[in-house]
């Protein structure tokens, strides 16, 4: 049940991301944006879907037929897999059973995410290469190089977080952030301890999802459409869809790791004071938590789109310099600082 729910919601959000992207672009550029299909243009994604189904599509004669289809499928498949371990909410108590609002709770959740993100590059590489188009090949190579470069810094920033949490389970990490901070329960978020790590992770998240300012694999001005130059209709749709699903997953991971996941300030107060029945109170907090979690995800998605219309694209040498010569040393420094801080924590506490 919950699995289907998670799946459906992810896809739904991804669909509406396309709408949101246009609306936000329009807002930032002082335009109206899509407004014809349905009220406020809300049926626009539907219209897009219909277009994708009915549009003629062809596979270039020189392309590798099978791999040409396999590319977008792989991209979509890896994107779908990654949302499995994200804890969308705490447990719901129904008839005395604790049900976790999460696809799967594992001991290795973070490693799983890391592994699946690493796989994301196959879809792009294979698709770009199978197209037999010079632009596609260049796009694929750029994407692969960029993804692997930023994966390292991403991993290192996760390490620093892991040293504090001591657990790879995303759920554990979330629950650990439910404590008190500045007198508010549920605000003990990692962002306050790992600001540098968060910035590194955020940058890498942009790069891993190939979003502006890191959209060199598909930048129109240099490479037409990059790895999906030759794609059209449904297969292009799969690529775009995979990109939006990746954005959602990455936003969710960021909320879990750094912004307390489904914890929200004052949750203990809600639990204690609103409803008298403990089961009801628990469920209420959980549902509120889910809402808050999606709120955080939407905030991040908005941020992604905001940045897209704000920052110009990097040049490739700048991109590599940022990844290897700035982010990786910074991330290593962050690991060392975190280690030292953990060891000196009692002394640090005594000082203040």
């Amino acid at each position: 049940m919950i699995i289907l729910g998670i799946f459906g919601i992810t896809l739904l959000i991804a669909t509406y991301c396309t709408y949101a992207e246009r609306k936000i672009a329009a807002f930032i550029q002082d335009r109206i944006g899509p407004n014809r299909a349905g009220p406020f243009g809300l049926a626009q994604p539907l219209a897009d879907a219909v277009k994708m189904f009915f549009k003629e599509e062809f596979i270039p004669a020189n392309a590798h037929k099978f791999l040409f289809v396999a590319g977008p499928s792989l991209a979509m498949l890896t994107a779908c897999m990654s949302s499995a371990v994200i804890p969308f909410g705490n447990t719901l108590i129904i008839n005395g059973n604790h049900i976790r609002v999460q696809g799967i709770e594992t001991n290795i959740g973070l490693l799983y995410i890391f592994g699946v993100v690493a796989l994301g590059v196959y879809g792009i590489m294979i698709g770009g290469w199978a197209s037999n188009n010079k632009f596609s090949l260049l796009g694929a190579i750029r994407a692969a190089s960029q993804n692997i470069s930023y994966e390292l810094a991403m991993g290192l920033s996760i390490i620093a977080l892991l040293m504090m949490s001591g657990s790879l389970s995303l759920r554990q990490i979330t629950l650990q952030q439910g404590g008190e901070f500045l007198g508010l329960s549920g605000l003990d978020w990692n962002i306050f301890y790992q600001p540098l790590g968060f910035i590194i992770f955020l940058t890498c998240a942009f790069a891993e999802t190939n979003r502006t300012p890191f959209d060199l694999p598909e930048c129109e001005t240099e490479l037409i459409g990059g790895y999906h130059t030759e794609y059209s209709a449904m297969k292009l749709g799969l690529y775009l869809f995979a990109e939006y699903v990746n954005i959602i997953v990455v936003s969710a991971v960021m909320s879990v790791l750094y912004f307390g996941g489904f914890n929200f300030p004052g949750q203990d107060w809600v639990r204690a004071n609103i409803a008298s029945d403990p089961t009801l109170a628990h469920n209420l907090v959980t549902i509120l938590g889910i809402v808050v979690f999606f709120g955080k995800i939407f905030a991040f998605i908005f941020f992604f789109m905001w940045v897209r219309w704000t920052l110009p694209r990097f040049r490739y040498d700048q991109l590599m310099r940022l990844g290897w010569k700035i982010l990786i040393p910074l991330a290593i420094m962050n690991v060392v600082l975190t280690g030292a801080a953990i060891l000196f924590w009692p002394q640090l506490k005594a000082m203040f």
């Binding site: 590798h64 001991n107 290795i108 690493a118 590059v121 692997i148």
Partner: protein, 170 residues
């Protein structure tokens, strides 16, 4: 239920493993090898070696195979341009493999590898905490020396892989 999963994974492992060997197109070989890694990761999960399952995906599927794909793209090996061995030597290779299999199985079929011991069984040994403990306490020295290995590999690979000055650019 789990037995069926096991048999399915065995089947998948062996089939995709054979396809790595018999595929004409190197790109297919790479994809089948990735599939093999996934099915082996599935086995690890069945055996509750979760950490290794994840590492297997990260290191093999996420890094090593990307490099293989990179090289195949770089060298433009999509088409079948392998000169074929004579049928005789192919035949010999297959026969040699078959004989090896028969010998090994014949020798190992009498082995009773034993089974689990219920008392004192720790199903959590494959968890990252336990492995970390063992790795950083008992296997500290190999761990540190592995870094020397990485340094050698990196210095060597970069030296061999880079373009020399004056070399043709392509």
């Amino acid at each position: 239920m789990i037995q069926n999963v096991f048999y399915f994974l065995c089947f998948l492992t062996l089939i995709s493993g054979s396809m790595v060997v018999f595929s004409r197109n190197p790109v297919y070989s790479v994809l089948f090898l990735i599939l093999t890694f996934f099915s082996i990761s599935g086995h690890y999960i069945l055996l509750n070696a979760q950490f290794l399952a994840a590492v297997n995906i990260i290191v093999y599927a996420g890094a090593i195979m990307v490099l293989f794909l990179f090289v195949i793209m770089f060298l433009n090996l999509n088409k079948e341009n392998e000169t074929h061995k004579s049928n005789l030597s192919k035949f010999a290779a297959v026969i040699a493999g078959g004989i090896l299999l028969v010998i090994m199985v014949a020798a190992l079929k009498d082995v009773d590898a034993g089974t689990y011991k219920a008392e004192g069984f720790d199903s959590q040994i494959g968890m990252v905490q336990n492995l970390g403990m063992v790795l950083f306490k008992n296997y500290l020295l190999p761990f540190e020396l592995a870094s020397v290995l990485f340094l050698v590999a990196m210095a060597g690979a970069v030296m061999l892989g880079k373009k020399e000055t004056g070399e043709r650019h392509f």
